[in-house]
């Protein structure tokens, strides 16, 4: 699997991490191009279903990132998100879904270098893990099940 290029989807908040990623670019810091950034108004807006849909649509890894605690543009969105991710992570672990494929991070608008680092470490980790075969198989199997039922 040497020619495997991981597909990583990044769900980021508009106010901190998106601006941070912008800074990475304007600072001319090079980082892995495997990441597809999706901008959200706030981490509190990132529904856990979106993460599942990302996996279902072929993502091998996911990054979720927003403002540091106490820095939220909407004061408390990231605190709510934090609790949600704690529960989500525990549920995913219990269902046997690979949480090593999801990176949660806080990246502020001033942390361009940290963003490059978060993306690079995630992409390296996903490269080692390989494509998310078990989830892709599950999705393919479900398509077959549907065809069979029709």
């Amino acid at each position: 699997m040497s020619d495997f290029e991981p597909k990583v989807v990044a769900f980021v908040c508009n106010w901190c991490t998106y601006a941070g990623a912008d800074l990475t670019g304007t600072s001319r810091i090079k980082y892995a191009s495997n990441v597809r950034i999706i901008r959200f108004p706030c981490t509190g807006r990132i529904d856990f279903m979106l993460l599942l849909k990302a996996f279902a649509n072929g993502a091998d890894g996911i990054i979720v990132s927003g403002c540091h605690p106490n820095d939220c543009h909407y004061t408390s969105g990231n605190f709510h998100a934090k609790r949600r991710w704690i529960m989500f992570k525990e549920l995913m672990d219990f269902m046997g879904i690979d949480m090593n494929r999801i990176t949660f991070s806080w990246v502020s608008a001033a942390e361009g270098a940290k963003w490059a680092d978060v993306v690079n470490t995630t992409v390296t980790r996903i490269r080692e893990l390989g494509p998310y075969v078990s989830y892709k198989e599950l999705v393919n199997k479900s398509v077959e099940e549907e065809v069979k039922n029709e």
């Binding site: 856990f48 279903m49 599942l52 279902a56 605690p69 106490n70 408390s76 605190f79 709510h80 934090k82 609790r83 949600r84 991710w85 704690i86 529960m87 989500f88 992570k89 525990e90 549920l91 995913m92 672990d93 219990f94 269902m95 046997g96 879904i97 690979d98 949480m99 990176t103 949660f104 991070s105 806080w106 978060v118 078990s134 599950l138 999705v139 199997k141 479900s142 398509v143 099940e145 549907e146 039922n149």
Partner: protein, 267 residues
């Protein structure tokens, strides 16, 4: 269960309530929910080990609510469901009469919410013993084995949503699965979509589940879907040190936060 019948009859006769929600013997060996509006029929009420359904689910149903003020036969899980419904402002504390049933099956005197809260606080609030073993067993498996276990179980799901209907906390009049713009959960049954549904259900019940196990009992194909929410009950207690349905003032774990919530996975 004479004291229950007497009390129900009394409540209906002096018109303090219009309907008593309880159990009656069904045509087979199972007990079924009963909605008694006529004091003369209060005698059909029973309470024994067959009475397992969580009756609190009926408190938010319009077809029951329109009957008038309700009295409800309530074991501990039902009382906790009622507490949760009050805290989420789905029912009002003074609009229902609780006919509490203790663990040994005798009638409790639950005069108001304060008394009910006192009784709940004195009780064992964790997951029931019979489910603890199963949870521990599953937690011992490797992630791959757990994935396989849940795929096998969830492939059976026929998307009847009995788990949702049986749950007192699933009272939304428009559930996510009925929304098709966007279509979060596919309408048809397939393993992946079924898994998405059960994740969604468990997440929506995180911090709200009171571990009655009604969802698993209602499942016609025997998916242990109650284990998902019960696992989160354990985790909520582990991280936030609360159990749902213990106070009328409590807001659920995921609708609130503490600035110093501890986690170890966000970099």
């Amino acid at each position: 269960m004479n004291s229950l019948i007497t009390r129900a009859k009394e409540l209906l006769e002096n018109k303090s309530v219009q309907v008593v929600i309880g159990y009656e013997a069904g045509p087979t060996s199972v007990a079924r929910p009963a909605f008694i509006t006529d004091p003369a029929k209060a005698g059909t009420l029973i309470y024994d080990e067959r009475c397992v359904q969580n009756l609190a689910v009926y408190l938010t149903k319009p077809e029951v609510k329109h009957l008038g003020k309700m009295a409800i036969v309530a074991t501990l899980p039902v009382m906790r469901s009622i507490m949760m419904l009050i805290s989420e402002q789905q029912i009002f504390a003074d609009s229902i009469v609780v006919l509490g049933i203790s663990a040994d099956g005798s009638l409790l005197d639950i005069a108001d919410v304060k008394v009910m809260q006192g009784y709940i606080e004195k009780s064992d609030l964790g997951n029931p013993e019979k489910y603890k073993e199963l949870l521990a067993e599953l937690n011992k498996l490797s992630p791959e084995e757990r994935f396989a276990f849940w795929q096998k179980e969830l492939s059976k799901c026929i998307k009847c949503y009995a788990c949702r209907q049986a749950c007192p906390m699933c009272y939304c009049t428009r559930c996510t699965v009925e929304v098709n713009q966007p279509q979060w959960i596919p309408v048809q049954s397939n393993t992946h979509g079924n898994m998405e549904w059960h994740i969604l259900r468990a997440m929506h019940l995180a911090g709200r589940c009171i571990s009655c196990g009604e969802c698993g009992r209602a499942c016609p194909v025997g998916i242990p879907c109650h284990l998902l929410t019960m696992h989160l009950v354990d985790q909520v207690h582990n991280y936030f040190n609360v159990y749902a349905g213990t106070s009328e003032k409590m807001s659920s774990v995921l609708s609130t936060f503490e600035p110093n919530d501890k986690e170890s996975f966000i970099i």
